[in-house]
């Protein structure tokens, strides 16, 4: 199989998936915070590996990431990624935790993983309802590290077939961008056709 092609009308469908998933997750976050959470228009693109960290500020940018492997009929990788500053504010708002300059405690990391789990869970549930296919998240794990080191995990499945990966990226922010983050959904290559098939999208 060659580098696969995705037509523009198919990309629109993938954007809509990002819209529905992240929309529900943003609602969940808004309920947690008791504040309005806004969302940018999702992007769905085939990205060269090198550029996949661009929207996060480059491969060396340190971020907080919750990773969930998605299993079921539409396997893939899901990342909930927020900046370090945003994760401190999030903990402070939700749990009244005051985070010092020297990193996170185990309890704080666990709280962040759980927030990521709730949000990614609501993303995936709404997605599953929409495409009527079974998908389940695995147990979340948290890493605070370089964006490149983290996101490369989501691209391994694509490494077998080319030099780019399909990324559905949705940015959300609360208030005056005090909490800003991303949902990245990277469906495995074979999942893309299944999504289109389930939604009755014609092949390109």
């Amino acid at each position: 199989m060659d580098q696969f092609q995705i037509a523009e009308y198919q990309m629109d469908v993938l954007k809509e998936i990002g819209n529905i998933g992240a929309g529900n997750a943003a609602t969940a976050l808004s309920k947690l915070l008791g504040k309005q959470v806004d969302m940018k228009v999702p992007s769905a693109r085939l990205m060269p590996f090198d550029q996949i960290t661009e929207s996060l500020g480059g491969a060396e940018q340190v971020v907080t990431a919750v990773f969930l492997r998605v299993v079921g009929e539409v396997p893939g990788n899901m990342f909930f990624i927020i900046t370090l500053e945003s994760s401190k504010r999030l903990l402070n708002r939700l749990l009244g935790m005051d985070i010092g300059a020297d990193g996170f405690t185990e309890l704080e990391m666990s709280a962040l993983a759980e927030i990521g789990n709730i949000l990614a869970g609501s993303y995936l549930t709404s997605l599953s309802d929409f495409i009527k296919l079974n998908l389940q998240p695995t147990v979340p794990s948290l890493a605070i590290d370089m964006a490149g080191a983290i996101l490369s995990y989501g691209m391994l499945q694509y490494g077998q077939m080319g030099d780019q990966a399909l990324l559905i990226d949705t940015t959300f922010m609360e208030g005056n961008e005090e909490v800003e983050g991303h949902f990245f959904l990277i469906p495995d290559p074979e999942s893309i056709e299944r999504i289109f098939h389930a939604l009755g999208v014609p092949p390109s």
Binding site: R69, S141, D145, M146, L156, M161
Partner: protein
């Protein structure tokens, strides 16, 4: 004060490059990937590859970047360095990366870091290149730089700061 302008050459994911001193080769954000460097200390020629997966057997088409897989990256890097004037018998290897970023790694794909390390070592011994230093494994990301004037391999990480091997 003299500020030397040493060119820094960035090596992207699944890519590689080689250069003669002065020059620094750099690759960023290694997680489960490997930053593998080869260095000829006599001719001061260095090479760096950002290896993503252990074996090209799994490639589903033939038009892949050779640097993506350990088994194709190492011979290709040697060849590129020999073209620049490096002596194959002088080459020394250093490598970093191969981490397991997420604790709950159940599937085989998630164990890719250790498998990358293993495969790189096999390939190096196949080409009888000594691995003189490594900083591999763990659960954290790394950025590496190879200084081609002296072969120093610099490793930067969020948790452990900077170290040289």
């Amino acid at each position: 004060m003299i500020i030397e302008d040493i060119p820094i050459i960035k090596v992207g994911m699944a890519d590689m490059n080689a250069v003669q001193a002065p020059g620094v080769l750099k690759t960023s954000g290694l997680g489960s990937c490997i930053g593998l460097s080869l260095y000829d200390p006599i001719n001061k020629i260095g090479g760096l590859a950002h290896i993503m997966l252990p074996s090209s057997d799994i490639a589903r088409d033939q038009s892949y970047h050779v640097a993506k897989f350990a088994d194709t990256a190492i011979p290709a890097l040697i060849e590129q360095m020999v073209k620049l004037g490096a002596m194959k018998s002088c080459l020394q290897a250093k490598m970093a990366g191969g981490a397991q970023m997420f604790a709950l790694a159940s599937s085989e794909m998630m164990r890719i870091g250790p498998r990358n390390i293993e495969r790189c070592k096999e390939m190096l011994s196949e080409y009888t290149i000594p691995l003189i230093a490594e900083d591999t494994g763990g659960n954290y990301g790394r950025t590496v730089e190879l200084d081609c004037s002296n072969g120093v391999f610099l490793i930067r990480s969020v948790q452990n700061g900077v170290k040289q091997i």
